[in-house]
């Protein structure tokens, strides 16, 4: 894979990419890669990234049923619409007051969460009584959702390396009434000594955030190709740790809010190569475009075609990639 890495991480932007990069304010290496990902829909993607995304919330069934929450918010002038693929998700079409300052928010009745970022927990499908690991958990969007799907039973081990973000995680757990979660601040790679003790593992990996450009335009320029390479290495190590911590028969969701194949299909492909008893499986939730199996002349393991990709121009969401893996 060393040679592949060379090819993948060495990008020479074309004149067209340089021009578009200038027009839309990106670093040229990004556009060069997007041209291959999106082909003739490149401009649709770039245009969609110029518009703010609709906001969305997930109702917290640990504390309230979704119908009651919707009625309460609608009485305050909010306009909500159900997100088709997220049983607890609503698009917020009108927001007369700040979503983060309502009484309902303070009471822990919902979490402000991107619509695509609700998918990984549904795809992992944790059940009450299971042992679940959330390896990069803060500030807790996915942890609080996992807890809700587990009816606050079983155990979640929620780990994050950042002191500041762990505080935010804990505050969200308290606000949302989550009580089945053990929070540990550490580098998740340190956990491998625990061995394969988890039924399910969520790895929402640290990434360049290339999917968040519509929310945070500074990301058009803030990450270099070298950042991408370093993150891909960390992601491989974290996914290796996830594999070591999952019991046989268990599941792992590998996901990022980046649309970069280098941070997704490539990472999964690398780890698959080391473990014949690991496979990418079809998620039970049918939304998103298939994963990318060949990029910049490099062939990935064909199984990564079972990953799912969501984009602003196709799904109206932040860019997201989600892969469900099973350890045999």
């Amino acid at each position: 894979m060393g040679d592949d890495e060379g090819e993948l991480f060495h990008v020479k932007p074309s004149r067209y990419a340089v021009e578009l990069a200038e027009r839309y304010g990106y670093l040229p290496y990004m556009i060069e890669r997007y041209a291959e990902i999106f082909g003739e829909r490149l401009l649709d993607f770039l245009e969609a990234c110029e518009k703010p995304l609709r906001r969305s919330i997930r109702c917290n069934t640990l504390k309230i049923d979704c119908g009651s929450l919707a009625r309460r918010l609608e009485a305050k002038g909010f306009k909500l619409r159900k997100i088709p693929w997220a049983p607890h998700g609503f698009w917020v079409e009108e927001e007369p007051l700040s979503l983060g300052a309502t009484e309902e928010y303070l009471l822990g009745y919902y979490y402000i969460q991107g619509a695509a970022s609700m998918l990984p927990a549904y795809i992992l499908e944790p059940r009450p009584g299971e042992r679940v690991l959330d390896m990069a958990a803060a500030p807790g969007g996915k942890t609080t959702q996992l807890a809700q799907l587990m009816l606050n039973r079983g155990v979640i081990l929620a780990v994050d390396i950042s002191r500041r973000r762990v505080r935010a995680l804990r505050s969200h757990l308290n606000r949302m009434g989550v009580t089945n979660t053990v929070v540990v601040r550490t580098d998740a790679r340190r956990l491998v000594k625990l061995g394969p003790v988890f039924d399910k593992v969520m790895l929402d990996a640290p990434c360049t955030g290339e999917g968040l450009i519509p929310i945070d335009p500074s990301r058009k320029k803030s990450r270099t190709m070298n950042d991408l390479r370093l993150l891909a290495r960390l992601q491989v190590e974290l996914l290796e740790a996830a594999f070591a911590l999952t019991r046989s028969g268990g599941y792992i969701v590998y996901t990022t809010c980046s649309i970069a194949p280098e941070e997704n299909e490539y990472v999964v492909s690398q780890v698959l190569e080391n473990h014949p008893n690991l496979a990418v499986v079809e998620p039970g939730v049918d939304v998103g475009l298939p994963g990318i199996t060949r990029f910049r002349g490099v062939d990935f393991d064909p199984q990564v075609g079972r990953c799912r990709r969501l984009y602003p121009h196709t799904h109206g969401t932040e860019g997201f990639v989600i892969c469900l893996l099973r350890k045999y």
Partner: protein, 186 residues
């Protein structure tokens, strides 16, 4: 609590447990304590500061495995009971939700307008109190509810009902409200 330089998470000693259960029973009656005790064992996290948690068995065994395998201690686990400061116990915000369900005393419900103000850190005037549970004495700790019975936080009774004459006297001083999640919790 002696200051410790590293994070330690361990079973609460009998003195701490007695203080926490004793305070909760005095403020809210025995039913809250009975309900909580079925949930798990009391643990204390300390690292200079100290906090109490209630941890169910399956979490406790993972914590033990984690400690043995990696030497790591959790930052928090289970249900956050509250803070241990200077030999006293101060209940946590998530606990208010449980207290509201089981309390036999120490509960004050307020009007919608007063509820909104309480969430901004304001005190409660006697005229905004719509009902209360138990005899309220000066200095008592109470849970403050909105008209729907949802817990908004804690207050301290500064004037008892027999002193509520005009509706304009401060009856309950705000100790901690859910607005904390916005102001500090971020």
């Amino acid at each position: 609590m002696p200051a410790e330089k590293i994070l330690v998470f361990r079973r609460a000693g009998p003195e701490v447990a007695r203080m926490v259960w004793g305070s909760l029973e005095r403020w809210f009656g025995p039913r809250v304590v009975e309900a909580l005790k079925t949930y798990g064992e009391m643990y204390v996290a300390s690292n200079g500061w100290a906090e109490a948690y209630l941890v169910p068995g399956e979490q406790a065994s993972l914590i033990e495995q984690l400690r043995e395998a990696t030497g790591l201690h959790p930052y928090s686990a289970g249900l956050f009971l509250g803070y241990l400061e200077k030999g006293r116990y101060r209940p946590s915000l998530p606990l208010a939700h449980v207290v509201a369900k089981y309390a036999e005393r120490g509960v004050v419900a307020v009007s919608d307008k007063a509820a909104q103000l309480f969430l901004y850190g304001r005190d409660v005037f006697s005229g905004s109190i719509t009902r209360f549970l138990g005899p309220l004495r000066k200095g008592d700790l109470v849970v403050v509810l909105n008209p729907l019975g949802e817990a908004l936080g804690y207050g301290e009774v500064v004037s008892p009902p027999q002193e509520w004459l005009h509706g304009s006297e401060i009856a309950v001083r705000n100790l901690q409200d859910l607005g904390w999640y916005l102001r500090r919790g971020g």
